[in-house]
Amino acid sequence: MTYLLSFNQIEHLRKALTLFLFFVITSLCFSFYVKAENLIVFVDQTRNLDYFKDNQLHLIDDDLLHLTQQFHEQSPKRLILIRLQKVNKKKFIGSYQVLGRGLSLQGRFKTKEDLSNIYKEVVNDEIDFLFIGHTMSNKDFELILSQPGQRFGTIMSSACKTGNIETLKVFSKYTNRLLASPENVHLAHFELDNISQTLSGTPNERLFKMLEKSFARLKKFTKSNLVLNVYDLSNALLFNNLDCNGLDEVNQIVLATELELSSYENRSPTSNYFKLNNCKNE
């Protein structure tokens, strides 16, 4: 016995099948993206991070409050906000707040071990790491990056002059992709608005979006040189005595650049064409 379908029914079935196949293919495509499920925002508040523009005070606390308001317990991305407040030989004091993927936690830590234990409880899958603060020593960067105990999908460094060879080598132990600057960065820091949307897609996509948005933000605040670069830290050139004079070589580790130069500021004498800092052989 055959079942005959009318032309309209066949058309209807064809459309439904097309739609079904579209959803199947789309979900398969998404499964190949490396999703960053967690975002650590590490804020070094051992020094004042408030900033002025046009006689208006901008408080870092307000910016961070706005950041946490973008997340809640059921958010698909987990925000881990770490605020470091005091450091000495014995103490490593600050507060943490975790929001997303079923968690809503907050508390304080008093030692490095406390913070490492917190990371163990809340961090899983791929993480992005955003640092906001003043310039730090490489030893201090090593300390804060090593605490989560795993590599990151990307690192974003909203601090001055971290695009120098020795600091890049430190970062390369923890990620292949970095957004940083070889010049100064205004305290107005990288863009925190709609950060979940910005940090979606592959590591390159996440950093290219963050580069564009952060550059647009910082341009409104700073009249000094503004340079942001995305670095490929997996490139072996970084460790093969990278020749600061060789622009071709240096260009291979810089994947993307946004740059606006000030009329009043020259490049630093140890800067390589705004790609790297600490190049002394120019």
């Binding site: 020094r47 004042n48 991070l49 408030d50 900033y51 002025f52 523009k53 046009d54 006689n55 208006q56 005070l57 603060g133 003043h134 310039t135 909203s158 601090a159 001055c160 002059k161 100064n184 960065v185 205004h186 305290l187 107005a188 820091h189 605040f221 700073t222 009249k223 000094s224 000030s262 009329s263 009043y264 500021e265 020259n266 630093s268 004498p269 140890t270």
Partner: protein
């Protein structure tokens, strides 16, 4: 009168103690606030001579402070950055004076943003434009 002097000395010692103990952040903040207020004054007037006068005060204060700075505690990188900043500020100011109101406003913005960078050297620069509490010292000397 002697009791008053003694009391003022004690207040001074406590005041100095509290300043030296991690008050740098507050100094930085107050200095940034004052600089920002002066920059706003520069931009709010249309008179070129007033703009130049205000900026002159800021630039001179920065230069004097940087000249007197004790560089022994600074790293080579910080010294280089402060030298670089000083050259830029002086060259920039000279350039801005030739350019008229718009250039002076832009220079004022540049001055403000230079001291709002996430850099260690900017911390040292604040100390050179701090407004000293000479009045209290004068009271102690002359009372």
């Amino acid at each position: 009168m002697n009791n008053l002097r003694l009391a003022l000395c004690l207040i001074m010692i406590i005041f100095l103690g509290s300043i030296s103990h991690a008050q740098t952040e507050h100094k930085e903040f107050r200095t940034k606030k004052k600089i920002s207020a002066i920059v706003a004054k520069v931009k709010s007037t249309d008179r070129e001579d007033k703009k130049v006068r205000q900026l002159n005060k800021l630039v001179n204060r920065l230069n004097k402070g940087l000249e007197k700075m004790d560089v022994n505690n600074l790293s080579n990188g910080q010294i280089e950055e402060i030298t670089h900043l000083r050259q830029e500020i002086n060259n920039g100011f000279n350039m801005a004076k030739r350019g008229g109101n718009q250039q002076l406003d832009e220079f004022a913005d540049f001055f403000e943003s230079s001291l709002n960078q996430a850099s260690e050297a900017s911390k040292e620069s604040y100390n050179s434009v701090i407004f000293p509490f000479l009045a209290v010292i004068l009271i102690l000397v002359f009372v």
